[in-house]
């Protein structure tokens, strides 16, 4: 319940705000460093397992809703709007349109090294967006990134050399021409 899961019980470190060895100031909060390191093996389920197996083979697999005909990438076990099970599987080309992107100027612990660009890619034939890294962005904070990489640019998936059945089997998307 409320007990902190310390990295090592009894070894919690008492710290004053931002101290890292700096002498404590009475005005700074007293805290204890606690780690919560749990390893998860998160289930993929049948639908996403099939998609990830496809990535290993450089294939982008999608499925569709028989009721509304939308095509899902990532595939879905059911259509959340129609609330019907999805049916047909199909393979989509590894190309599409970069509809939008942003540049992350700051990172976070465990995240990609900034700056990095994340885009929403609509693969040809898909009704949905796949979020992924894009390259070709000018990381000059003074200029408009769209000058170098306009929205609507045709992009293609660049496959990782080693593929393990993970979304990063696609290394990134790059301009197609």
């Amino acid at each position: 319940m409320t007990s902190p899961t310390a990295s090592q019980a009894g070894e919690a470190i008492i710290r004053r705000s931002g101290s890292d060895g700096v002498a404590a100031s009475p005005s700074r909060p007293a805290t204890q460093e606690v780690n919560w390191n749990l390893r998860y093996d998160i289930h993929l389920g049948a639908t996403w397992s099939r998609f990830m197996d496809g990535l290993r083979q450089r294939k982008l697999l999608a499925n569709s809703c028989a009721s509304c005909s939308r095509v899902f990438v990532p595939p879905q076990a059911y259509c959340e709007s129609c609330f019907e099970p999805t049916a047909e599987w199909l393979e989509l080309p590894a190309e599409g349109t970069l509809e939008v992107y942003t540049v992350a100027w700051h990172g976070f612990t465990g995240g990609p090294t900034p700056p990095y660009a994340i885009g929403g890619i609509r693969l040809d034939g898909a009704s949905t967006l796949l979020m992924h890294h894009v390259v070709g962005v000018d990381f000059d904070s003074e200029s408009d990134p769209k000058d170098a990489l306009p929205f609507g640019t045709r992009v293609r998936a660049v496959w990782a050399e080693e593929r393990v059945g993970h979304v990063l089997d696609i290394s990134h998307f790059e301009p197609a021409s």
Partner: protein, 379 residues
């Protein structure tokens, strides 16, 4: 991509639920306090304001999030402080707006006479703003699905950046216009007690502030703070025997949005708010024409107009006299703060008019949104 069908809305008018007490902590960068100390402080004072005791509570609903609180089932720590010891209590892992709606629904349904909703937000990290910001972004990334969006580094700020970039591409309004809107909210609230941005800003100041997620700069984003807000609610009969606030909740609305792949959060970011507004107005029996004041939780200036439109309010409505989220954003306690801002101004509204208190869960930015809208009238 928009939903293929508008969800059916099945609601009926409710009996009003009276706000009889509200209390908030000071809003600061970081509280030197345990979570339960903050919760106890505001619940105790809100009950006192209403002239009620812990024993009068039929239900306590708290809002917080384990991953921010650094404890699994952190409500085990805060339940007693919310008055829930040997009573009925539960916690929502989300914004305080959901807790308020849940507590109010328990009263409106006749289940209980008095309930308290409390939101607490004091992320368990310490240090300067940059360190705290990195922690919040890490937690946000953890809230995205682990198979697709987490590995590519999606966070609340990047999700808002994606939306803002799209707006800039399709809107006639330029970056300077959105910066001016942010500057106006910051400047309007700079002198207010609860604002955590205490200096006014110009549009140029906003554009010169630290770039966070293109095209967003620091001063376009919410003014993060830590704190807690408790709202004590009562049935009309019980409120008649209470001292305290003269406001009543007459409409309650809540809705969730779609995940990243739908694209709805980019193309129609007001969808969840629109549905929650329909429910709030339908349960109140009022219409958007009756609204005179709104506290709108727009995390970026690029979301301001889509959310105002989703609330169905026109240019005559006073929006965010508090400065909104650019003045003060106490994370999961935001729903309580927005209601407090409304309740403190409800007496200034023309007779027969209503106010709307709108709040959002921002853990994954505009993705998988949790929107609440509460219609408020003078009691």
């Amino acid at each position: 991509m928009e939903s293929t069908s508008e969800p059916h809305l099945s609601v009926r008018p409710i009996l009003p639920v009276h706000v009889v007490g509200i209390a908030a902590t000071e809003f600061v960068t970081e509280h030197d306090a345990m979570l339960d100390e903050l919760v106890f402080d505001v619940v105790y004072r809100a009950l006192r304001e209403a002239g009620l005791r812990k024993q009068d509570l039929g239900l306590s609903v708290s809002a917080s999030m384990d991953v921010l609180d650094g404890r699994s089932i952190s409500s085990g720590l805060t339940n007693a402080a919310s008055g829930g010891y040997l009573s009925d209590a539960f916690r929502v892992e989300g914004d305080a707006g959901v807790a308020i709606v849940s507590a109010a629904e328990a009263i409106a349904s006749g289940d209980v006479e008095v309930a308290v909703a409390v939101g607490v937000h004091n992320p368990e990290t310490t240090g300067d703003a940059m360190r705290r910001g990195r922690f919040l972004e890490q937690v946000s990334n953890l809230a995205f699905d682990p198979h697709f969006d987490r590995p590519v580094g999606l966070t609340a700020n990047t999700a808002y950046g994606l939306h803002a970039a799209r707006v800039l591409a399709v809107s006639r309004m330029r970056a300077e216009g959105f910066a001016a809107l942010a500057a106006s909210e910051i400047s309007r609230s700079a002198g207010l007690d609860r604002s955590v941005r205490r200096r006014g800003a110009t549009a140029q100041d906003v554009l010169d502030s630290v770039p966070v997620a293109w095209p967003l700069h620091e001063l376009m984003l919410p003014a993060h703070s830590a704190g807690a807000v408790a709202v004590v609610l009562a049935s009309p009969a019980r409120a008649g025997r209470c001292v305290g606030r003269d406001a009543k909740l007459t409409g309650l609305g809540h809705s969730t949005g779609g995940y990243t792949w739908t694209g709805e959060w980019l193309a129609d970011p007001g969808a969840a708010t629109r549905r929650a507004t329909r429910a709030a107005l339908a349960t109140s029996g009022a219409s958007a024409r009756d609204v005179a004041l709104a506290e709108v939780s727009a995390p970026t200036p690029h979301l301001h107009q889509p959310l105002v439109d989703a609330l169905g309010i026109d240019a005559n409505v006073t929006v965010n006299p508090s400065g909104g989220m650019r003045s003060n954003f106490p994370g999961l306690a935001n729903g309580g703060l927005r209601l407090l801002e409304v309740v403190e101004r409800i007496g200034e509204l023309p007779s027969g008019s209503i106010a709307l208190s709108h709040s959002l869960d921002t853990i994954t930015g505009g993705v998988a949104e949790d929107a609440t809208v509460i219609a408020v009238e003078a009691a």
